[in-house]
Amino acid sequence: MSGHMFSRTDKTIWGRWWWTIDRPLLAALLAMMGFGIILVAAASPPVATRIGLDQYHFIIRHLIIMVPALILMIGISLLDLKNLWRLATILLGVGIVMMVVVLATGMEIKGAQRWLQLPGLSLQPSEFVKPAFAVVAAWLISKQKDNPVFPGYLIAGGVFFLVITLLLMQPDVGMTIVTFCILCTEIFLAGLSIWIVVAAGVVGAVCFVLGYFILPHMRSRIDRFLDPASGDTFQVDRALDAFRHGGLFGTGPGQGTVKLSIPDAHSDFIFAVAGEELGFVFLAILLAVLAFIILRGFNRVMDSDNVFVILATGGLLVMFGIQALVHIGSNLHMIPTKGMTLPFISYGGSSLLAISVTMGMVLALTRRQPKTSVSRGSLSSRPVMAGKL
């Protein structure tokens, strides 16, 4: 798409979209998708052959899912704020119902019941509940800010406990932590007393410690992180070897050898494959793009007058950022191993669709909004792009 496709006076839906969307952010997201295709192509063939599938199995499925993912992201980015929270509310409702269905009927993979089997695709409803919850909670909180009589915090808290109860029943500690971080971010941004935020942090820490003593698999993960000799750390050891083998420029795409011995190379350990095959230079670029997406989004909503926009964007981007950090931190053995996909890069139909929905929402929120009420007056004195860096 080049600039002259749409004139500035173009009032069609696409014309308005093109001039209000944050194009650098969009470019960064498309770049992430491109990296994802390269890395899934590099990392998945050994995994596919090991479990007896055709070696192109994951690559083909990744490319196929890419189409609805792009459509979802662009489609959602077209929505205005009202329709966005409508969509989020519906998605949250449907998602919660699906999570209940999953608990009742879903299949168990690697010890957890998270997946809903659809023809040709397995969906993980909790992936979609997270962004929907971020938007709905932001709306509820901002509503209370506008109208203190409205019990926004209370409802958001209720929904939160419903969601994390369902998550813990699966059980899915990782997603519970991410959801908790979303809520914390939003109440933090909403200006709640710093002490309440600190208290929430303390509660979170207590829950984490309790989880260590109650959930055996969580305990074993943490024990193995603190004391590698206490258990099997094969996967993370191989991941560290992969980074060392890669060095500055890496072995070249498809040329890695350590990746052959990493069981989850195409999903939970794709960052290590990137390290081996593309080296430090590429990892630095990848980290820069990730950081750019988060900070760009934050910056974009800095001058928004809409509390809902700030809270929702903050919540969604924190979710995106934490997910990436957990994945990368696990790969680098900076935190206990937690199987989490790297947004846009890891193979995983469900997570790719969900992250596209998330970033579609971010794109929609960071579009140049017509200023509301009193502040609208200043709009005419400012060029549309003035907020850019």
Binding site: D241, G247, L248, L287, F298, D303, I310
Partner: protein
């Protein structure tokens, strides 16, 4: 990227609370942004640490160091080479060599048919069909051939096919082949010890620090194995065992179990050969046990040599009856009981000793417990439980109690060497201290019989060889003494089978100052024309021991000594002995 100022557009037109809410939100958004920026910087630092500092720098260091040059980095660590096993003179018994093993990465092989053809040409022992099938598998790793010779590796590299790779491995070589098979043992293809000292010292050998030195002497080992195999062949035995042991230290100089096996090629097919008859097999040893009944009698009852036992009538207990093989049908003295190997005499001796004392004696010389030797292939003796009175009688001539041949030999050594208990040992002192398994260096500190008893036993055993059942083991100049044992093996119906024998001879020399004990045991020998149909120990095992002693004497540099017949160890026993016709052997009375 730079962060925007906290308050971009101060405006006073907004309602106060809404304004301040937005300000707070923006301020805190900046805070969250900073936290994330720091987290990503931290992650980037860790990435730099792993890829550059831990990954790239060591490679640079290796490339610049002159001796290494550019090397492929060892993604898969090469197994450390296992330690050597050597004999007492340093002759190599086992060593690990680094070899290359061929594997394929089928994903990189474009023309499996051609590659398979080429491989079969270079390695004719591979089958074309097998190789082709392996090369077409959907995997990234498959072994084609382990442990290649260097010229084969060179030839395969010359083929130049991608997807054929090598991995360094260790291959265990036993230069002496089957010679020490049961003692040294063997390993599996991954270098884990599965038998012999390879198994019992697996951890030590895996460390590979220094060689494990055994007490074996391959020269004596060869002699023992040669004579044992000759005896088994001559008398069509099904197997056998032979030992040469130092009487005073318990060091095993030679230890053979037959049939044996090639430690390079151990399969299920030869599982019978893997069986170590010396330490794992338990047998009713027969008359060699009379050494212990006699020694116990002399030690406990302190009787004189003239003590007699009436061997005229078989002993009948219930349905059992104890009879003599070389029956003399008269009253016998102690030396005569041994010389003519009288079962009735031995049983009467045991009766005189008493059950408890006899059991205690057998326990003292180590015949009631598992043999102590540095192997894991060991068996507990089979001891009747409960021990009845009849057991005491039968045990006196080596029936009703089954022990390993090796512990019988070490018990004889303990009785003969002056009376100090010895434990058989395979490992030279000072070689195993690293592993924490220290050897019992005070093994000579336990006395089992008095010096006097030991001396008398030496005289009696000398007499057995010079005048009794084992004359074929009498090598001039070395005063060989010993005792034959011909046991009937248990038959299928709870009794004994007269046709299936276990013939053994335990010889000790020189009797005036014992140094070596030599044992040969042949399992189920059959009589030959030359032996007039006999398959007893005097015909089977005693000549083999004689041949071993004859051959080992020059190897050890022992000098024969001409001995005045009057000073022979047997001389003092002769007055107590009458020959088969009942005539006194010597007319001169000593006492």
């Amino acid at each position: 990227m730079s962060l925007p100022p906290l308050f971009r557009r101060p405006s006073t037109t907004l309602i106060g609370s809404r304004r301040s809410t937005l300000d707070v939100a923006r301020g805190r958004l900046v805070f969250v942004g900073i936290v994330f920026a720091l987290a990503y910087i931290l992650v980037a630092a860790r990435v730099m640490d792993l890829t550059l500092i831990q990954g790239e720098l060591p490679r640079l260091a290796r490339m610049t160091s002159p001796d290494q040059g550019v090397t492929n980095e060892p993604v898969i660590a090469v197994a450390k080479l296992r330690g050597d096993v050597v004999d007492r003179n340093g002759v190599l018994l086992a060593r690990s060599l680094k070899t290359a093993s061929l594997y394929a990465d089928p994903a990189l092989i474009t023309d499996p048919d051609q590659v398979a053809k080429d491989l079969v040409r270079v390695l004719p022992d591979l089958k074309y069909g097998d190789v082709l099938q392996k090369l077409q598998r959907k995997t990234r790793f498959i072994w084609l051939r382990r442990n290649l010779a260097p010229q084969d590796q060179y030839a395969i590299l010359n083929l130049g096919h991608p997807g054929l790779n090598f991995q360094d491995e260790a291959h265990r070589i036993y230069p002496q082949g089957p010679l020490t098979a049961h003692m040294v043992g063997f390993t599996d293809i991954d270098g884990h010890g599965l038998g012999g000292v390879e198994r019992s010292f697996d951890d030590l050998l895996a460390m590979g620090n220094r060689p494990l030195q055994l007490t074996l002497d391959v020269r004596l080992q060869h002699i023992a194995r040669r004579e044992l195999k000759a005896a088994i062949r001559e008398f069509s035995g099904i197997g056998g065992a032979a030992v040469i042991m130092d009487v005073n230290t318990g060091e095993i100089l030679a230890a053979v179990s037959a049939p044996d096996f090639d430690p390079h090629n151990v399969t299920q097919k030869n599982s019978d050969s893997l069986f170590n008859r010396l330490t794992l097999g338990v047998y009713e040893m027969g008359s060699t046990f009379k050494i212990f009944s006699t020694a116990a009698l002399l030690e406990i009852k302190n009787v004189g040599m003239g003590q007699t036992f009436d061997a005229r009538e078989p002993i009948k207990i219930g349905r059992f009856s104890i009879t003599d093989y070389h029956g003399q049908n008269r009253v016998l003295t102690i030396p005569e009981v041994m010389m003519y190997s009288s079962n009735i005499g031995a049983a009467k001796m045991a009766e005189m000793i008493g059950t408890q004392s006899f059991k205690n004696f057998l326990k003292d010389v180590g015949l009631m417990d598992t043999v102590q030797v540095e192997l894991q292939e060991r068996s507990r003796p089979l001891i009747p439980n409960p021990w009845r009175e009849i057991t005491t009688l039968t045990a006196s001539y080596g029936h009703g109690i089954a022990v390993t041949p090796l512990q019988t030999v070490s018990a004889v050594a303990s009785v003969i060497n002056g009376g100090m208990l010895v434990h058989p040992t395979l490992v030279m002192d000072g070689t195993v201290n690293d592993s924490g398994k220290t050897k019992n260096t005070k093994r000579n500190a336990v006395r089992v019989v008095s010096e006097k008893t030991s001396h008398r036993m030496r005289q009696i055993l000398r007499l057995v060889v010079s005048d009794g059942t084992a004359k074929s083991a009498d090598i001039a100049g070395f005063q060989v003494g010993g005792k034959t044992g011909t046991a009937e093996k248990p038959g299928g119906h709870g009794g004994y089978d007269r046709k299936r024998l276990l013939s053994s001879f335990i010889g000790v020399f020189p009797m005036n100052k014992p140094q070596y004990v030599v044992m040969v045991m042949v399992d189920e020998p059959k009589g030959t024309k030359a032996s007039y149909g006999y398959a007893t120990a005097g015909w089977v095992a005693a000549p083999a021991v004689g041949k071993i002693i004859t051959a080992m004497v020059p190897v050890l540099g022992l000098v024969p000594q001409d001995i005045d017949p009057e000073k022979d160890m047997a001389a003092q026993m002769r007055p107590y002995v009458k020959d088969k016709t009942g005539k006194q052997l010597v007319s001169v009375g000593v006492e």
